[in-house]
Symmetry: C2
Subunit: 404 residues, 2 copies
């Protein structure tokens, strides 16, 4: 089998909840040996409102393909053991708050003194050294402060968060890129470095469709529901179907509009030559969208989609989450990777969206199943014994003392 | 000055709108020579509803630090010139639909025959080879089909898109990672490969907070407004302030709850011992949230935030987009990088969320301003002349013939 691109790299993951662990998962899926270092009780997400074998379902989804050890970083012995392990690592990945990392005595200065080739990758809520660095950050609070909630939802309803934990995940994927960049530099210089991505910062590029009109005109577009942030064309929105569903329809080009007029047969639209340019349609979007909804209300969702897709008009069903998750596409494409957990049954773990041809056998649906997420401390003996040479008696003492 | 990590790499960007260009921007910001190859009329986003110098504001935000040439890939001569340029490139980055790339005669087989070291990076809406591969995909339609709109918004209101173009941007950042992985493999094998990230696939991990309860229980949480996807604790939500604003407040731990009770002084909350565990609070979240809103309605937003932050209770203002964008944090941290465009004034371009210490001088606020986005065809002479040796007469003929 082809060696995966990160084969031979070792990552110590001090990740918790979503941000650090998703970054660690991306690394593990590319062949890195990711050792998840959890406090003796397990990381927060593992323990989250559950006593089921293996931990919470979301923990299981995010932590396949990793090894796992326990360690009390707050204890003197635990701190020393971690620094010993750092000598065997290429990357330390963490998403504590800046002052927590400092209080643990695990700053860049201390870590790099033990291993100058190390890359320290930090996922933060807010940039370290910035005025917000002391604030507790969660996906929800970052969505709020970033301006994202204010541009999500309908203008006559309150601001609302996205269902996606996009602040956590945008931070995680940018951090994955940052680690690869630092490893590339290390290939040239022989030295590691600290890299950081703040969730607030990583949200920023995704606000572009609303940020650009604001920065250009000084007018805040606010919430526009399912419309485009600026009135560029019409139709553009989610339209109700006869069977209680919704269909998104966008006519961005004049060609798409002509095809749509032909399809829906509404003479008010087809015969009005003034509507044949996008800006003119944008200026009358209220009325156009109401005509479109009249048409969509007469047909079931899937018939509408077939008609629209046949003509190449950009459209999609507003699928429920259940419908989207039950789609065989997910397992076929390796986005959901079922594994069996003892005492638990089948759990769907997250596959990587990244498709490399050379490594396809490692991620596609026909490939071997992922290694199950580690049980709490599952690899203590393998790691502490194998890498640091601690014998079983020492390990037993460390467990008894609450260090592991 | 320190060489940036991608110094010496050349990328031919056939990007359009947001997905490809944001990936190209991430590469350019790390030192790659990104040559944007546009059709003779400019890419769609440049031309988008504007005749202002340089193109649309969103185009300018996404395309700093790149060079730009024009080329009609549909012409025979243009196709041949592109393949000549491929011999001088490390990466071709594109976000066409799969069948468009085929119809242009720019498949992996054709490109790699000219340059076996090439990495072909493809941003797609849906995975190539999948049942959805022929569908037109935009951020909005992918939000719909992914299930994301169905979990965004309030339960008694219609499904709604996120303001963030998260499908475009998640696809772009994962693709950035994919390119770095393929370059790492090339360092070892000497050979390039095609890599691909579909926007639908890249949305998937971000749905975790809702996907995990559905996959575990079979119950679709649907839309929950600003609440948590499962009733884990309370308060958790956005609460109105006396001055018409909103504050997000989360008490996840029992310690945070005790601090909150102490702060708000509501005896109904403080004196009820049954509320001291998170699951019990989750079970009574309607009532708790209404008590919390009674308290927040009596105070202006910024006073609430000061009180909550002083006690370490996770909270944040729901800032308007204007408020978030006007925050000096953005320019100070290099997230917005002002440049001057002739005939246009100052434009804010997007900085990278990725912070590498070794390259900090290249991305922080104290650093040199970015190279302005290329004017249409600005580097035709530099690139076609400098790399392929075409003389001015030939270039003039190509322009006259509509090839450039």
């Amino acid at each position: 089998m082809h060696a995966r691109p990160l084969h031979g790299l070792r990552v110590l993951e001090l990740g918790q909840i979503y941000n650090g662990p998703y970054c660690g998962l991306l690394l593990a899926q590319q062949g890195a040996d990711v050792i998840k270092v959890e406090p003796p009780g397990g990381e927060i997400l593992r323990r989250h409102e559950t006593s089921a074998p293996g931990g919470s379902y979301s923990f299981l989804m995010l932590n396949a393909d990793k090894r796992g050890v326990t360690l009390d970083l707050k204890s003197k012995r635990g701190h020393a053991l971690f620094l010993d392990l750092v000598e065997h690592a290429d990357v330390v990945l963490e998403n504590f708050r800046e002052d927590v990392l400092e209080s643990l005595g695990l700053t860049w200065e201390i870590l790099s003194a033990r291993n100058p080739r190390l890359v320290l990758a930090s996922g933060r809520g807010y940039r370290s050294g910035s005025p917000y660095r002391r604030l507790a950050a969660m996906d929800f609070t970052v969505q709020a402060i970033s301006g994202h909630m204010a541009i999500t939802g309908f203008p006559d309803h309150p601001p609302v968060k996205a269902g996606a934990t996009l602040a956590d995940m945008f931070g995680a994927v940018h951090l994955f890129g940052a680690i690869l960049l630092a490893l590339r530099e290390r290939d040239q210089t022989g030295r590691g470095q600290p890299v950081e991505v703040a969730m607030l910062d990583a949200m920023f590029p995704s606000l572009l469709a609303y940020a650009s009109p604001y920065l250009e005109t000084g007018v805040d577009p606010g919430r526009v529901g399912n419309r485009h942030s600026v009135p560029g064309s019409a139709p553009y929105g989610a339209f109700p179907s006869a069977d209680g569903g919704w269909v998104t329809i966008m006519c961005v080009t004049d060609g798409q509009w002509a095809k749509f007029c032909d399809l829906c047969g509404d003479e008010r639209l087809a015969d009005d030559a003034s509507l044949r340019s996008a800006p003119a349609r944008g200026a009358r979007r209220d009325w156009i969208d109401s005509c479109v909804a009249e048409w969509t209300r007469q047909r079931p969702r899937d018939e509408l989609l077939r008609l629209l897709e046949d003509r190449g008009i950009p459209s999609a069903p507003v699928r429920s989450l259940a419908e989207a998750l039950d789609d065989p596409y997910n397992v076929d494409q390796g986005l959901l990777r079922p594994i069996t957990i003892e005492g638990r049954g089948t759990v769907q773990t997250i596959g990587s969206p990244i498709q490399l041809r050379a490594s396809q056998e490692g991620t596609g649906s026909g490939s071997a199943p992922p290694r199950p997420p580690p049980r709490l401390g599952e690899h203590n003996r393998e790691v502490w014994g194998g890498l640091l040479g601690l014998d079983d008696e020492t390990l037993a003492t460390l467990v008894a003392d609450g260090v592991l």
